[in-house]
Symmetry: D2
Amino acid sequence: MQTRIEVGILGATGMVGQHFIRFLQGHPWFELKWLGASDRSAGKKYRDAMTWHLGGDAPAGIADLLVEDSKPGNAPRLVFSAMDASVASEIEQAFAQAGHVVVSNSKNHRMEPDVPLLVPEINPGHLKLVPGQQRTRRWNGQIVTNPNCSTVVLTMGLAPLKQFQISKVIVTTLQAISGAGYPGVASMDIMGNVIPFIGGEEEKMQQETQKILGEFRGDHIEPLAAAVSAHCNRVPVIDGHTATVSVELAAKPSIVDLQQAFEAFRGVPQDRSLPSAPPRPVIYMEEGNRPQPRRDVERERGMAAFVGRLRACPVLDYKFVALGHNTIRGAAGAAVLNAELMHSEGMLD
Amino acid sequence: MQTRIEVGILGATGMVGQHFIRFLQGHPWFELKWLGASDRSAGKKYRDAMTWHLGGDAPAGIADLLVEDSKPGNAPRLVFSAMDASVASEIEQAFAQAGHVVVSNSKNHRMEPDVPLLVPEINPGHLKLVPGQQRTRRWNGQIVTNPNCSTVVLTMGLAPLKQFQISKVIVTTLQAISGAGYPGVASMDIMGNVIPFIGGEEEKMQQETQKILGEFRGDHIEPLAAAVSAHCNRVPVIDGHTATVSVELAAKPSIVDLQQAFEAFRGVPQDRSLPSAPPRPVIYMEEGNRPQPRRDVERERGMAAFVGRLRACPVLDYKFVALGHNTIRGAAGAAVLNAELMHSEGMLD
Amino acid sequence: MQTRIEVGILGATGMVGQHFIRFLQGHPWFELKWLGASDRSAGKKYRDAMTWHLGGDAPAGIADLLVEDSKPGNAPRLVFSAMDASVASEIEQAFAQAGHVVVSNSKNHRMEPDVPLLVPEINPGHLKLVPGQQRTRRWNGQIVTNPNCSTVVLTMGLAPLKQFQISKVIVTTLQAISGAGYPGVASMDIMGNVIPFIGGEEEKMQQETQKILGEFRGDHIEPLAAAVSAHCNRVPVIDGHTATVSVELAAKPSIVDLQQAFEAFRGVPQDRSLPSAPPRPVIYMEEGNRPQPRRDVERERGMAAFVGRLRACPVLDYKFVALGHNTIRGAAGAAVLNAELMHSEGMLD
Amino acid sequence: MQTRIEVGILGATGMVGQHFIRFLQGHPWFELKWLGASDRSAGKKYRDAMTWHLGGDAPAGIADLLVEDSKPGNAPRLVFSAMDASVASEIEQAFAQAGHVVVSNSKNHRMEPDVPLLVPEINPGHLKLVPGQQRTRRWNGQIVTNPNCSTVVLTMGLAPLKQFQISKVIVTTLQAISGAGYPGVASMDIMGNVIPFIGGEEEKMQQETQKILGEFRGDHIEPLAAAVSAHCNRVPVIDGHTATVSVELAAKPSIVDLQQAFEAFRGVPQDRSLPSAPPRPVIYMEEGNRPQPRRDVERERGMAAFVGRLRACPVLDYKFVALGHNTIRGAAGAAVLNAELMHSEGMLD
C-alpha cells in the first residue's frame, strides 16, 4: 500500500462521527489520524470522550487517539465534518479559510449557491463550483457537501430517469431511527408507532433534490425544473430509509425504458473504480415485495440504492420504491465517496 | 332497554370475527346470539373452537355459545360476515338468498355494481342499490359491504373535500400488522422492517375509493372521476393505518376552506346519533406531528378518522396525513355502523 | 356524589405526574385541584407547561389549571408525589413538615425505617409507623411510599406464598420502557434489543421486597428473613413488567396449595372495596403461555398482578411468571390505592 | 487451497438450512455440493425451491444446484442435518446406516445415550461415544449432534466454571425470534410483547446442560450432578439469546477466580485453530450494561459467547449474563465446528 492521505473528523464523538470512523477503517487511500470535537472532549483519549453506539467497540487504533479541539491548527488538510448544525457553519468556514478541504455531512452549507451538493454518480460536474467558491470567499480551502440522508435515496432513484425529463415527483419516506442520531428518537415515541413529521426534512428533500439534479451554469447550479413534494415519516426501523415515489416524465418513456435505465445506470465513481463505489449504484430488484430495509440495506456495503416495484402510476406516470442506507450512503459513506471523487480529480493533491 | 335485534357472525372464530364479538359487547340495538364457522369448528363451544387473539379473554357470555355450521338454517336474519375471501362469495350469497341481511366485511362483493360499498357518513344513499340487487338476484335478503381497512381511512380523509371536486389523489399507506389477521405477518418479516407491498391492496384502494365517493345513478354507482394512485406498505405497528395523501382539487379552495371542511364534516350517523357513530367522524389535529397510530387510534372508540399536517403540496394542491383504526373503523365497527344505518332506515324491520 | 377530598400532584408535568392525572380522572373520593412543578413551569397553564405523552390529550379540566411552585403554601393537604429523585427528598419533607400527607411514588424515603413502604393488600399494618414518624421528625404531616414498579410485581406474586415461609427468591425481570419515564430509553438502545441492566433496580427489588413482606415491630419493620436475588433487564415492551420467579418455601407446600393460595388471596382493599382495588389482586392464569404484557396488562384497570406457569423448580421449590402494570399498579395507581387505604383508616380526616 | 471435502445439507430449504448455506460460504475445508429436501422440492433448482429469508440473496453458486430427495444415494459422505424434528429421526438414521457422517442440528438424537451432544470447546471427548454407537447400531456411519440454541449459550457460560464444581444453576432466557424458524412467531404475538413459554425448551436446557457438562464413562456420559432450572421466554429480538444465570459453586471460588476463568477459557478448537473457532470462545465484557444482543451478537462471526455483569448472588453464589448467536453458534456454526473437530480427529478420513 502506498502512502495514504491523512484525514481528520470534525465532530468525531457524535454518532455520525462514529460512522465515519467505522467506514474509514481499512480505507485504501485515507488514513484517519485526527479527531476533533468540542472543548469538553478535547484532551481526552477518544475511548474516554464518547460512548460507542455502533455494533462492537470503537476500533482499537482510533480509541487511543487524543481528541483535539475543533480548530484548524494541526488537523490534516482533508477533514470530514460530522458536526451538529448548531456549530458547523462557523467551524467549517474557519477550516476552509485556513486551507482545509472540508467534506461535510452537515446541512449548513448545502444550499449555498457556491457549494457543491455532491452525489458522485449524479453530479460530479458540480465540483466546478469550487474555484468560484474559493475566489469569492478568499479561501485556500473549500467546502463540499453531501445531501440529507433521505435526499440521497430519492435522488439516486431519480437520477437514472433524468434523461426522460422529470417534471413532477411526489415522495413519501419511511425513515429509520438512526437518521436522528443519538439519543435521537425516544423509544416511547416510536415503538409500535409512526411519527408523520421530521423537522425540516421535507423542505430539505424538496430543495436539495432540485439542486442535485440541476446543471452547473458557470457560477451556480440551475436547479432541475421539476416540482417535488415530500411527506416524511419516522418508522420503527433501525437502518435504511424507504421511499415510495410517483414521478411524471415529460418524455413519456415506456416502463421497459425505465427498468433498463435503472439497470444501466453507472457514474464516474464506477468508471474510475473509486474504492467506496458500489459496482452498480442503483440495483433494480425484480421481487414483488422488495427492497426491504432489514433485508437489503447492508448489501453492497450500504453504498447502493435499491429500487423495486416499478409500475404505472394512475396520477403521474410511474411509481416505484427506493431504499438506501441512511448512515452509510446517506452520511459517512457519501462524504468519503465525495472525497474519493475529489482525489480522483486531483483536488486533494 | 327495549328488545334488541338478534344478530349472528359468519366466520366468528377468525380474528375479524373476534373483533366483531368485542365490538358488539353491550351494543344497545344488537344482541349477538349466533356464531357461524367452518365444519371443523361447528358443534364446539366457542371457547374451544378458537384461540382468542385480542386483549383479555373472549366475553364470558359468548365463550359458551355453540358454534354452528355456516348455513342459513337457524341463524338470525341479520348476520355480519367476517369470512375469509376464499369462502365468502358462496356462503354470503346463500344467506342473502335465504332472506338474510348480510352486512359483510369481506372483499368479495364490494365491487359488484349492485352492492353498496358503504361508509355511512359518506354515501348513505348507496343503500338505494338494494332494491335493484334484490330484484335482479331474486333475493329476499341482501348484501351490503364496508370497504377495505385502508380505503376507509383514505375516504374519510377525502370525503370532507369532495365539495371541492377531487381530481387527483396520491396516497401512501403505512399499515398495521393487525390488518393481516392471524397469524398474518411473520415477525421475521416485519420486526424492524418495512414491507413495501400488500397483495391486492393498492388496486382495492384505487377502485373502492372511486366507488365510495361516487354517485347513485338509478341502478349503479357512477364512480368519482378522480385518478387515485396508492402505494401500500406494511410497518411494525399493531393497530392503525396511517396514510400520507396529496390531493388535487379542481375548485382550488384555500387551505382555510379545507381545514374548516374537515372540522365541519358530519354525516347521517351523527345526525341520527347512531350508537357507534363518533360525534365527529373526522378529527383535525393541530399538533405538528400528529396523528400517530399508537397515541391516537384508540380515541373515540376507534371510530373516528384523524387528520393532520394539512399543508400545500408543490405537485398537487394540498397534502395531509390521515389515520384510522383498521380493525374497528376499518372492519368490525364499520360493518356494525352500516347495520345501524340500515336499521335507522327501517331496512331491518 | 358527596364532597370529594381535594388533592394535588407534586411533579405534575413529568410522565409519572401525567399517569397520576389520568388515573385520578373521575375518582370518586379524590378531586385533583392543584398541580405543582418546578420554577420553570410555575405560572403557566398545565397544557403549556408540558408535552402530554400518554394516549389522547390531557384531560380538559386539568389542562387549564395553573401550575404552581412546589411549595406547601396553598396546596391541598393530600399531595401525591411524582417527583424526580433528585429533588424529592427536600420537597417531600417540606410538605410533611408543613402538615401535608405526602403519598409518594419517589424512591427517596422508601427505605427510611420510619416510613411505610406500602402495598395495601400486603402490609396495611405498616401504616402504624406513621405516629412514630411524626413524633420523631416533629411533623404534623407524614410521608407514605409505594414500591418501585418491578418490586410491586414481585411482592404481589410472593404475598400469597408468605404463609408458606419464603426463604429464597431468585427473580429475573423483563421490564417495559415506560418504566424509565420520558424521554427515557433511546430507541437506538432498545429496538430489537435487550439491555441487561437497570441502574439501582436490582438493589431496590432485593431490599424493598424484604421490607414490604416484613413485620411491624413497634418502631420499625422487621424485614422478611429471605434471601432475594434480582436480575433486571429492559426489553422492547411498552407497558408491563414481567418477572420469572423461583422460590424456596420452608413449609414445603404442594403445588395445589400454591395455586389455591394465589386464587384465594385477598386483602384489606378488597374487604373494604376501595375504589381502585381490583376484585382479585392476584389473578392466576391457567393458559400455558400467559401472562403476557401486551395481552394482559391493561385488564382490571392495570391494578391486578397476573401469575401463571406455576411449576416445580429443580433448584428451589417452585417457579412461576408474574406480570403487572408498571405505571399503574407500579406507580400512580399504587399511590392512589395507598391514599384510599389511608382514608379508609381515617388518616385523612 | 487443497482439495476440499464435499458436504451436503439435509433440510436445505428451511431456515436452518439457509443458515448452513451461508455459514459454509468460503469454508476452507468443506465444499457444499449437495442439497437435500422433501419430495416437494426435489428436482427443482434451489432458487426455485425456497424463499430466501436471510439478508441479501442465496449465494449464486448454490442457487443453481438441483435439490435432491433426502435419500442417502449420491449424497457426500458428510452431511449436515437441518431437518425438522418431525422427519429427522428416520432420515438421519438411514444416512448413518448407509455410511454417512451425519452432523445434526436436530433435537431428535441429542439425548440418546450413545450419541455425542457436542460443544467442541467443552466436551470433545464425548466423540468417544461414536465407536460404541457404530457397534451397537451396526452403522458404518454415525450421528453427532449439537445442542439446542439456548443450551449452547448457557453451557458456554458455565463451562469455564466447571472447575469450581457447579452444583446449582437457575437460568432465565430472553430468546430471539429467529430461534423459532420461519414463519415461526407471528408478529401479532411478539411485537411489544414477551411470551413466557417456549414449548419443550426448558426441559431441553435442563437435560442437555447436564449431558454436555458430563463425563464420558466408557459407553455413556455421566451427567453433571448439578440441578438446573430454566425459565424460557421469547422477546422481540431478531438474533441472539440472552440468559441471566445464577450459579452455586461447591468450591466457593472468589469473584476474581471466576472472571479469570472466563478470560482464560480455551478449548481444543482454539488449540487446533479450527477454521470456525473464535480466538476466545467466551468473551468477558467489563461494561456494566453488556452484553446486548443487537450490539454484540454479530461479533466474532457469531461464534463466541459473551459474558458480563458477574456479581455475587444473594441466593446462590454468583450471577451473570450470557449471550450467544442462536442461529450461528446455536445452530449452523455449531454443527460446522463439530465437523471441523471431527476432521481434526481424523474421523472424516
